[in-house]
């Protein structure tokens, strides 16, 4: 009743939403249209939104003209998956420690984790490069995985900690009274209850890892077979004559996995992202 709009207000709201979503979605639409055009139609003036001879041919041809496309996509998925696993191994126990135990320096340590989070990977690139060099990790998956995981840990700890704080302490205390060890309690009591929270953190970590695969791969890896999709395609981007329709088709296919994950799990993702806005 309170939110009744007059008809012209409804029209105004829809027009506003249409303008806003056009800005957000137009690039994807344009990329899709380009991927359907044959190359001679792309390089023709004046600009036309729809051109003749549109077809899905590019989606078949690109696999031969970008022979490593499969590898790039699998590398991207593989790197993000391992980053998520490594990050979770660090995040779950740490979040539990910060949520449940008062120990000397706990506040300072939590603050330090969050503060360190403010420094991006590009700032630390010089020592990181030297580190990877001296550990012999240049041109391996690990050079992309370990830094990738490190920069997602603080946010993950923060998210999971606020979730764990909402689990009643009585559950663990009951387990301890029954003689369960503390590690057993974490494994058999806390983690099972915290699964929804862990899923949120895992999905957020995975998407972040998938979105940010550029810098470390660009800098630490020169073995083309190991490149994730963004860097694999970047080589085509820089060339004199860019095969735009294939680049756009490959880009769209490459973002499909995260888009599918996003569509199915968007509730979790939005919940994780906005936890801070409502609570803390």
């Amino acid at each position: 009743m309170i939110n009744k709009y007059r008809w012209y207000e409804v029209v105004g709201i829809y027009l506003g939403i249409a303008a806003f979503l056009s800005f957000i979605l137009a690039p994807f639409l344009e990329a899709f249209l380009v991927s359907l055009r044959p190359l001679d139609r792309i390089f023709s003036a004046p600009y036309r939104i729809f051109t003749e001879n549109m077809s899905f041919d590019t989606y078949f041809n690109m696999w031969t003209s970008v022979p490593l496309l499969w590898r790039y996509m699998l590398n991207s998925l593989f790197i993000s998956t391992v980053v998520t696993i490594v990050a979770l191994i660090a995040i779950i126990p740490a979040a539990y420690a910060f949520a449940r135990f008062k120990f000397r320096g706990s506040n300072a340590l939590l603050g330090a984790f969050l503060a360190i989070n403010m420094v991006g990977g590009a700032v630390l690139i010089i020592p990181l490069y030297k580190l990877m060099l001296s550990l012999g990790l240049l041109n391996t998956y690990w050079a992309m995985i370990i830094p990738g995981a490190a920069f997602t840990i603080p946010t993950g700890i923060w998210l999971l900690r606020s979730y764990l704080l909402r689990i009643p302490r009585e559950l663990e205390e009951a387990a301890w009274v029954d003689g369960a060890s503390r590690l057993y309690t974490l494994r058999r009591v806390i983690i099972p209850i915290a699964i929804p929270g862990i899923v949120v953190v895992a999905v957020a970590t995975f998407i972040t890892a998938y979105a940010q695969q550029f810098l470390f791969a660009l800098t630490f890896n020169s073995t083309n077979e190991l490149n994730p999709l963004p860097v694999g395609l970047f080589q085509f981007f820089g060339r004199q004559t860019v095969v735009w329709n294939e680049l756009m088709a490959a880009s769209l296919v490459g973002i499909l996995p995260v888009l599918i994950i996003y569509i199915f799990l968007q509730r979790f993702i939005v919940a994780g992202l906005t936890a801070g806005a409502v609570k803390e």
């Binding site: 309170i2 829809y14 939403i17 806003f20 979503l21 800005f23 957000i24 979605l25 690039p27 344009e30 390089f43 003036a45 600009y47 191994i89 660090a90 126990p93 740490a94 420690a97 135990f101 120990f103 706990s106 503060a115 360190i116 403010m118 420094v119 991006g120 700032v123 630390l124 690139i125 010089i126 020592p127 990181l128 490069y129 580190l131 370990i146 490190a150 920069f151 205390e173 503390r182 998938y210 979105a211 940010q212 550029f214 810098l215 999709l229 963004p230 860097v231 395609l233 970047f234 735009w244 756009m248 880009s251 490459g254 996003y262 993702i269 939005v270 992202l273 906005t274 806005a277 803390e280």
Partner: protein, 297 residues
Amino acid sequence: MHTTGRFNYFPYLLLVPALVITIVIVAWPLVETFRLSFTDAALKPDENFVGFENYEKIFSGRFPEVIGRTFVWMFWSVGLKMIVGTLGAVLLNAAVPGRGLFRVLVMPPWVVPIAIGVFIWGWMYNGQWGMISGVAQIIGLVDGPFEFLAYRDTAFIATIVTDVWIGTPLVTIYLLAAMQSIPNDLHEAAWVDGASRAYRFRRITLPLILPAVATMSLLSSIWTFNSFDIIWILTEGGPRGGTTTMIIDTYKTAISRFRYGEGAARAVLIVLFLSAFAGFYFYLISRFARGGADNDQ
């Protein structure tokens, strides 16, 4: 609770994995960056202590200009993200049919790999065949093909627009969540008293989302300050340095030209700026946390 009298190792044990990886990948490199900034480290076997020479060098060069440019870039980028994001949140908060779907459609720029979103923008900025130049020609804004990334000013604006596109979804969703956490009774009470929609927005919604706006502005500033991918892919800092921010300059100096010492000095300055942002951020968070607790009582 669980005070056993003796020292409790358990929580420290739980922190070991996170601490090890953070110290090796973030904390130690941070310290090492400071050390390197006082050396002449480069692609050579030895490195010597040179005092403040690197800092003197970068401040006598064009770096002050780069610092200024970074802040202008950040100001426009964050400002536009906040404005567009707030508008988007207000629109998506309106109770109209289809808003569930609209909310889902906001996120893709944030979900897809940053680099891939930037490839698409790279195509759109193409002067000969790209969409923006094409549409501008059709409606008569420009006479012929216009290469947006070939001129300093337009390249600067182009990188900002792309950064706004990538950053807006998160701002929108974050502010939308803040708006939805406002209790409905407030609006209803004001409505009963005859307050118009605009008045309610100004006197209820806006003040109550202000902490979220402030928090997001600062977080967004920090991320934007750290932004590397967008500029690197679109222009690599060009044309003629027109889009070279502090991060881009650091990367070029250290990784492209192998001058580790001089690059590290630039990185140290970035860390100092980031510390200032972070300090301000934590100050705001703690103030809002206290304010929130007061309101509860």
